[in-house]
């Protein structure tokens, strides 16, 4: 089930941002048993590099990502840790 969610997150972000890099981690197992996990939502980590973030503040970038995953944010995702960079930023930060 978790693999499916990761694939759905990947598909949504791929379509919206055409990223040059996209890594999605599933940390759900680390949080098994805590309140959010009991409600059924998973914990995920996203590292995404896309020119779509050019000129956007951090808050705007995260809102764009929350918007792209849409309804999953309320049902399937309890927590989504996000690092969203442009290619130039990723390079200057050594990624």
């Amino acid at each position: 089930m978790s693999a499916t969610r990761v694939e759905r997150i990947r598909a949504a972000l791929q379509e919206r941002f055409a990223p040059t890099r996209l890594e999605i981690g599933d940390d759900s197992a680390l949080h098994a048993g805590h309140a959010g996990a009991r409600e059924g939502g998973g914990h995920y980590r996203v590292f995404i590099v896309s020119e779509a973030f050019q000129g956007c503040s951090r808050v705007v970038r995260q809102r764009m990502i929350y918007d792209a995953v849409g309804d999953m944010m309320h049902k399937d995702i309890h927590a989504l840790a996000i690092r969203a960079l442009t290619a130039a930023e990723a390079e200057s930060q050594g990624h």
């Binding site: 949080h31 805590h34 309140a35 959010g36 951090r58 808050v59 995260q62 809102r63 929350y66 944010m73 309320h74 927590a79 989504l80 840790a81 996000i82 690092r83």
Partner: protein
Amino acid sequence: MDIQDVIRDQVTNNGVVLYMKGTPQFPQCGFSSTAVQILKGCGVREVLAVNVLADPEIRQGIKEFSNWPTIPQLYVKGEFVGGSDIMREMYDSGELQQMLKDAGLVGED
């Protein structure tokens, strides 16, 4: 008073407001715990910590107020700064410390 007005009052009448799960002494979520640690690391003088688990209306209301789906959420001088990822990035780069310093919210009185 409408919950949106309550939140607006909180963020405008306090320099630093952290909406979190649990309390600074007993955070109920790892991300909220991280946020508290970061603010401590910045040497913030005073934080209004609002425990959203204690108030379902605030818990839902803050998500709408900020147009942001997750907790924790940080406000500085009435401006939404972000959640724990953004706090971490800004702390690591020194931007958060600078922002709080510029706002006169760190150090001794």
